[in-house]
Amino acid sequence: MICAVVSARISPNFIEKIYCVRLMPREAEALDINIVADFISAACMCLPGTIVAESGDFYNLETWRVKSILGRDFKYPETIAERTAIEMAHHISVAGRRLIMDRERRDNHDG
């Protein structure tokens, strides 16, 4: 699986500045909440600010529960800018996944 992180400064309806974009692949046996949370924590390491993720990513758990699992500030998207940032991360993760799949296919073909 792949986790894409967009670190940005936002106003309520616009992304003001993108500081960095991070793409992290990882192999996992299952999609357990702890594995997902651990993966997201690792991907957001050293990036300041509040983590914003879609509710489906954390199995619709309540915000306070996700906060306690992650051990840092967390919220589900509320504003247009937060949704735009998440959409951007989605596009990046899909593109990243395609690149990895293509590389694997090419390696298999060469091998």
Binding site: S11, P12, N13, E62, E78, T79, I80, R83
Partner: protein, 413 residues
């Protein structure tokens, strides 16, 4: 004589989620808007019951009041509706159907009626499909089996939906043409959006001096209404739209696409919020409004009007505005009833509208050229006109107005 409609409100809360006192208030407001007299409110914290949504005891308690209808906050599945109706002979409604009932009673224009019908059919279609699938299961005797007639019902619904969609597309393209024409006439399009009962229509009345129907109840406005306004020399068309509400199914938003396109195609959106609401509720309503604006694919700048500021003292209002600044772009404290803050709002509006560009064009000395000049006098801000070999006009206006002038032989210099 019309008998008063009565209802009992039922709400089931998930035990794993925090209690939410605002839900029942909202449901009470919706029931009142639909004309129901609420006899009792019943709340239960438990997991979802597969057969009745809530516990049987609570449903029996609700029926002991002998209401006309049981209104559930939670969405009811077709099976749950069937079970409650057959076991208790009770009429039931869920929140979504209650909203549709309000919409259908208030829909006055053809467009609004079509949108409500489409929303109802979109809701009914999967339920009819499900009912047919259940009916076809097992033995199918000739009489009352799922024969050709029942089967065609689903196809009839799909056909009607397709017909309404094509009619609405026609309405939508008419709306697009209308907006294009308005832009060519030099108008900036501003839409009023926000949670239901936030005071959008009252604000429109105070800003434009019009007399649009405005009441203290949800969903007073269903069809968009547009009025002209002049803000610091700029011609603006202000459009009042249908209010948003939390947890709306996406197909309802889809059904109201042609109305909501007034928001998505606007040059500026005025997001109206009721600042007299408690802070948690205010945040929730703003979050729901942001979600709806995201679903409408709004890209225009947003100005937030914190309406009903006259109900709070100055310090309290500023404190509240500060605590929601992450959800309220360019907040302006105002009161549509007293007129407080409307001057600041107009100033903010003129600042946030895209500045008009300056152009220099030449027009031929023909009758078309001169009539174009007369049109430009009305639709743009003419800065200078010099009569040389050709008419040289320096003006400030919208791109669309200049593009239209180009069709009548004007040359951009």
């Amino acid at each position: 004589m019309d008998e008063e409609k009565t209802a009992v409100l039922l709400i089931r809360e998930n035990p794993s989620k925090s209690p939410d006192p605002y839900r029942i208030n909202e449901l009470r407001g919706l029931a009142a808007a639909a004309g129901y007299k609420v006899m009792a409110e019943i709340l239960q914290r438990r997991g979802r019951d597969q057969r009745f949504q809530m516990g049987r005891g609570k449903i029996e308690e609700a029926l002991s009041y002998h209401p006309h209808k049981l209104i559930f906050y939670n969405a009811l599945s077709p099976n749950q509706v069937y079970n409650i109706r057959s076991q208790y002979s009770a009429q039931v409604l869920d929140r979504f159907n209650l909203i549709l009932e309000i919409f259908s009673s208030r829909a006055s224009t053809r467009e609004a009626k079509l949108q409500v019908e489409l929303a109802r059919l979109s809701y009914d279609a999967p339920q009819v499909k499900n009912a047919l699938a259940l009916k076809k299961r097992g033995e199918q005797p000739g009489f009352r089996g799922a024969g050709a007639y029942e089967q065609s019902m689903y196809h009839d619904i799909r056909g009607r939906m397709a017909k309404i969609r094509s009619e609405l597309e026609c309405v939508q393209s008419m709306g697009e043409d209308r907006r294009q024409k308005w832009r060519e006439q030099g108008f900036d399009l501003v839409a009023l959006a926000g949670y239901t009962n936030a005071g959008k229509s009252t604000l429109m009345n105070s800003l434009t001096g019009s007399e649009v129907v405005a009441k203290d109840q949800p969903f007073t406005t269903l069809s968009p209404t547009t009025r002209a306004l002049e803000v610091f020399g700029r011609k603006v068309l202000l459009t009042d739209t249908v209010g948003f509400i939390d947890d709306l199914p996406h197909f309802l938003i889809k059904a109201f696409r042609s109305t909501l396109s007034e928001i998505s195609e606007a040059d500026l959106v005025l997001l109206v919020a009721d600042i007299s609401d408690p802070i948690d509720l205010l945040r929730r309503k703003l979050i729901a409004s942001h979600k709806a604006l995201w679903d409408c694919e709004v890209t225009a700048p947003i100005v937030t009007i914190l309406n009903k500021a006259d109900r709070l003292d100055e310090d309290e209002a500023s404190l509240k505005a500060e605590s929601i600044k992450d959800l309220a772009p360019y907040p302006v404290l105002a009161s549509a009833v007293t007129g407080q803050g409307l001057g600041v709002l107009e100033e903010c509006l003129s600042q946030r509208l895209q500045p008009l560009k300056e152009y220099e064009i030449s027009l031929p000395y023909t009758s078309e050229g001169l009539s174009e000049l007369s049109r430009l006098y009305e639709t743009t801000e003419l800065l200078a006109v010099s009569y040389e070999k050709e008419l040289i006009v320096r003006l400030r206006g919208r791109e669309e107005t200049i593009a239209k002038a180009g069709l009548s032989g004007a040359q951009l210099r």
